[in-house]
């Protein structure tokens, strides 16, 4: 109660405030579901089809299975990576610079951190949805031998978190939308080629192999591949820890830099 005798209304609890932001993004996204889901969903499938049909015959077996079975988990990983990346680079930039959506949310009873969490968690959920979608399609081709493959859904969430934070880090620094091209070509494309999606990293020379182990997508691919094959071993914890380490390291930096960018 303030001194003028007016009782200030109580804001809703903070989890609900995060959920309100999450719900905003979800609502806008589902408004154009077909246009938003179909193209990014088809991309990894086309890749799978092209490489699976065109290349698999020359390769024989990798890791005890066909090349197509080797490729399928990687498709789940890259769909999550691209989904999070586009959403937090071009998507967030447009919301921030042109539509001023963040200004609108921050004028309501929502703190910066709540707004940030609502956006990041939405992106993670979107990645989970994509992971599940691609998983179901590749499974329908008989490429997924194990039910443990459903763990691709939480793995997609974690992958989304890492790439959402990376995307937002770039967005906090980019002043001109075309500059995202540098990030796409310089970081995301190499990630796509050198994370063991299309060939086992063991075939690379030593130093390059270790360099690839620094890429977060490598660990996402390893997890996806193991889960799809139904292999659950303690060694997977290492990949999980690396990804969580990326999140923990990026989180405070991204919150600080993005706040500085949006709140002036």
């Amino acid at each position: 109660m303030s001194r003028d005798g007016l009782v200030l209304p109580e804001p809703q609890a903070w989890p609900m405030r995060i959920f309100a932001v999450w719900r905003r993004h979800q609502r806008v996204y589902f408004k154009f579901l077909v246009a938003n889901v179909i193209p990014p969903f088809l991309e990894p499938l086309m890749l799978l089809l092209a490489l699976g049909l065109g290349l698999a015959g020359y390769i024989g077996s990798i890791g005890g299975g066909t090349y197509t079975i080797f490729l399928a988990p990687g498709m789940i990983a890259i769909s999550a990576m691209y989904s999070a990346t586009y959403e937090t680079t071009y998507g967030t930039f447009i919301r921030m610079e042109y539509e001023k959506i963040h200004d609108a949310i921050l004028a309501s009873p929502t703190s910066f951190l709540e707004m940030f969490m609502g956006e990041v968690i939405w992106v993670c959920c979107k990645c989970s949805i994509f992971s599940l979608g691609v998983l179901l399609v590749v499974a329908s081709f008989g490429l997924i031998p194990s039910w443990w493959a459903l763990l691709a859904v939480p793995t997609g969430f974690l992958c989304g978190m890492v790439f959402a934070l990376m995307g937002l880090l770039v967005t906090s620094q980019v002043r001109e939308i075309n500059n995202f091209n540098f990030y796409m070509t310089g970081i995301i494309t190499p990630m796509f080629f050198f994370s063991g999606v299309m060939f086992p990293l063991d075939s690379l020379p030593g130093f390059l192999k270790y360099a690839c182990l620094c890429l977060p997508l490598t660990h996402v691919v390893e997890l996806m591949r193991s889960f799809c094959a139904g292999i659950l071993e303690v060694g997977l914890l290492w990949h999980l820890l690396v990804l969580m380490g990326y999140c923990a390291g990026l989180w405070p930096v991204v919150v600080t830099l993005l706040r500085r960018r949006i709140v002036v």
Partner: protein
């Protein structure tokens, strides 16, 4: 407005200051805003109006000074609590372009914790309040500038705020749309909502505001009740004319004047006082009108408001 002297202000600013890097946007300003009044911040672009406003709802962290809104510091642990009681209309519309009019209100209501039946009733009554009912299912792209503005205003009202801050609510709108918004704002003050608005239209300030501050370059030049401010600082009438229509000896007359560009403004209490002036071409272009806030601003700064 009649106000008991014991009433606590809803907003109190002391030495409020905002720097953007080395640039001083707001420079040690003091003001109080009381419950139920319509308070204006009048000034040209760059006067510090928007920066001041953004500090009120803690969008912008202040550089120095004290600020209390509802008796609480808006920048701190009470930030969200303070904003629960404020509705904000920003300078440029920031609606969700992909959503319809109704969906925009529903999404925004979510931030205030409204849901279910309460949300639906609130949305319907607000659509009606701003005559947007017919456009409820239109997307934002289908709306005119005036409609977008009206939607941004009702969106700010969704949480039933007791304080509404509006940054240039009618800039760029046609006279009809402007009058619609003025009418709505008067209805709000009639219901006891406190309004803070910035404007560079003196007509808007004079029509709506119980009290106002005139700002320039981050400072408050004058504050008070509009009519009192004009009466205190200016003669009753202004004769406005072009420099080229005046005979050359006009500066020698015993009349107060201000000028801006090639316009000259003579000030006097009675119409007869202007009779000493002589004009080329019979003075067809001269206008005699009551003095206004615009003239006061010119007198204080040597510039016009809406350049």
């Amino acid at each position: 407005m009649i106000r008991a002297s014991s009433t606590e202000p809803i907003i109190r600013a002391r030495g409020l200051t905002k720097y953007f890097g080395p640039v001083r946007a707001v420079d040690h300003i003091d003001f109080e805003i009381y419950p139920g009044e319509c308070f204006g911040m009048l000034g040209p672009n760059g006067a510090g109006k928007t920066s001041t406003m953004r500090m009120l709802y803690d969008f912008s962290p202040r550089t120095a000074g004290e600020l209390a809104v509802f008796g609480l510091d808006p920048a701190g642990k009470n930030s969200v609590r303070v904003r629960q009681g404020i509705g904000v209309v920003p300078q440029s519309d920031n609606l969700d372009l992909e959503l319809t009019v109704r969906e925009n209100l529903e999404v925004y209501a979510g931030y205030y914790g409204l849901s279910g039946q309460r949300l639906r009733q609130r949305v319907e009554s607000l659509l009606e309040f701003m005559s947007l009912g017919e456009k409820a299912d239109a997307t934002i792209k289908q709306l005119s500038g005036g409609m977008k503005r009206r939607l941004t205003i009702v969106r700010a009202l969704i949480g039933e705020p007791r304080l509404v801050v509006l940054d240039e609510p009618t800039t760029g709108l046609d006279p009809h749309a402007r009058h619609q918004i003025w009418k709505a704002l008067r209805e709000l003050t009639a219901r006891g909502v406190t309004i803070v608005l910035t404007t560079h239209y003196m007509e808007e300030a004079q029509r709506l505001c119980d009290r106002l501050v005139i700002m320039d370059q981050g400072k408050i030049l004058q504050q008070g009740i509009p009519e009192d401010m004009i009466r205190e600082h200016l003669p009753r009438l202004v004769l406005e004319t072009g420099l080229e229509d005046l005979d050359d000896d006009w500066r020698k007359k015993d009349l107060r004047f201000e000028y801006y560009g090639d316009q000259v403004f003579f000030l006097a209490d009675r119409e007869e006082d202007f009779s000493c002036l002589s004009f080329r071409d019979g003075g067809k272009k001269k206008i005699i009108r009551p003095s206004s806030l615009e003239d006061l601003f010119l007198k204080l700064t040597g510039r016009v408001l809406d350049e």
